[in-house]
Amino acid sequence: MNDITGHLLIVDDNKVNRLLMSRSVELLGHKASVAENGKIAMEMLSSNSFDILLLDIEMPEMDGFEVLEALKANPHLRDLPVIVTSSVEGLDNIVRCIELGAEDYIPKPVNKILLNARVSSCLEKKRLHDEQKRLLNRFATAEVAQDLQESGFSIGGKRLTATVLFCDIRDFTSISESMSPEATIELLNMYYTLMFDAVSSQGGIISLMVGDGLMAIFGAPKAIENPAQSAVSAAQDMRNMTALLNEESALSGQPQLKIGFGIATGEVVAGYAGTQDRAIYTCIGKTVNLAARLEAYTKVAGVDVLLDEETRKHLADPDACTVIPSVDLKGFSKALNVYAL
C-alpha cells in the first residue's frame, strides 16, 4: 500500500488488460477507473478529475498517440501525468510517446513493482506541481497564474489597450493614527478582500498594492469584452460594499472609509517587469499616469470616481457621467475633460 493514493484512469481496448491493470492498481492502494478507447477516455477526463492516466497505444476510435496529442493541446489536461503501458512494437513508437509528453513507458505485461515505482513517482510529481500551482495562485491572480502556465515567464511587455483603475483610502494616514497597528492591518485586509472581489469578479487583476493604494488592470493579460465598463462596474461595486462596511463600522464606532477611484482607458505596455528572480505583472504608459492623476484629482473635485473621456465613451450609459471641463493634470500638457460618476 502507498502513503499517497490516487485515482487512475486506465485506457485499454482489451478486456483482459483492463481487468489486469485495474487489479494491479487497486492492489497498490489506488482507485481505478477504466475506458475502452481514447475517445471515451477524453470524455471521462472532461468531466472527472484523475491523477494519472495509464494509456494503451493500439486502440480503435482514438489511439494512444491521438490521446497524447489531445492532452497536450488542452491547457486543463496537459499537466496530467501519462504512463504509457503497451506492448507496441518498435523503439520509434516508444520515443514518439515520450516526445508527445508521456511521463513514462512500461512494457506489457506490466511488472507490478515497476508500476508501483512509476505511479508513486508520478503522484509525488503531481503533488509538487499542484502545490506549485496553489502557491502561484496565492501570490499572483488567477489570470496571471494562467498566463504564466500557458505562455511561460519572460521579462518584457506588449502594447495593448486596457483600462487602468487606481484607488486609495482618503486620509488613511490620519485614520490609522487613531487605531492600533493590529486594527489598522485588519481594516486594510478587509478593504483588500472587498477590492479583490470587486476587481476579479469583473475580470480585472490587481497589479499593485502600496499601503492603502491599489492599481488594477482590466483587459490584460486576458482580453475582456469591455474593459472600461468592467472597471467602472468594479468601482461601483466597491463603492456599494464600502457603504455597507461603513454602516457596520458606524455601529461599533469605527472610522468611516472614503475611497477615491481614477479610471483611464488607452494603450499600455503590459507584461512582466522586474528581474528573472522577482517580477510582477504590471502595465505602464500614459494611460496608467492618467488613472493615477485622476484618482489624486478626486480629492480636489470632491467626487469618488473620475473617468477619462476614453473610458466614458465605452460605457453602456455615457450620459450618466457629469463632465468637469478643462482640468489641468500634472504631466499632461493639454487640459482634459474628465467625468465624475
Binding site: 483482459v16 488488460n17 489486469l20 487489479r23 493500439e58 480503435p60 506492448s87 512494437e89 507490478k112
Partner: protein
C-alpha cells in the same frame, strides 16, 4: 526454436501476485474473449483492413504474453509486424495455436 504452448510458471506467478481467484477469472475472460478477437482479425484480413488486422494481432499477442503463451505470442507478433497475410495458411496456423493454447489454459484453471 518454437516456443512452448504455455509456460505454467507465468500463471503461477500471476496467481501469487494477483490472487488465485482473480488469475482464474482472468483466464476465463481470455477464453470468452478469444473467439471475438479471432473473428475481428479474420474479418480485418478479409476486408484488407491493415490497421484493424494489426490491432487485433497486437491484442492477441498482448494477452498471450500475460499468460505465458509463448507460441501464440510469437505467431501474433509475426502477424502484427508482417501486415496483411498472403493466403490463408498463417491464419489457419494462428487458429490452431489459439485452440491448443485455450485447451492448455482451460486445463490449468481446472486443475
Amino acid at each position: 526454436m518454437i516456443a512452448p504452448v504455455l509456460d505454467p510458471s507465468v500463471f503461477a506467478e500471476l496467481s501469487d501476485t494477483m490472487g488465485e481467484d482473480f488469475a482464474r477469472e482472468l483466464v476465463t475472460t481470455f477464453l470468452d474473449e478469444t473467439p471475438q478477437m479471432l473473428a475481428t482479425l479474420t474479418d480485418a484480413a478479409a476486408r484488407g483492413d491493415g490497421d484493424g488486422f494489426r490491432r487485433a494481432a497486437h491484442s492477441l499477442k498482448s494477452n498471450a504474453e500475460v499468460f505465458g503463451a509463448g507460441r501464440l505470442a510469437d505467431l501474433a507478433r509475426g502477424l502484427e509486424l508482417g501486415g496483411l497475410p498472403d493466403g490463408s495458411a498463417p491464419l489457419q496456423e494462428l487458429q490452431q495455436t489459439v485452440a491448443v493454447t485455450c485447451d492448455a489454459l482451460g486445463q490449468l484453471i481446472h486443475e
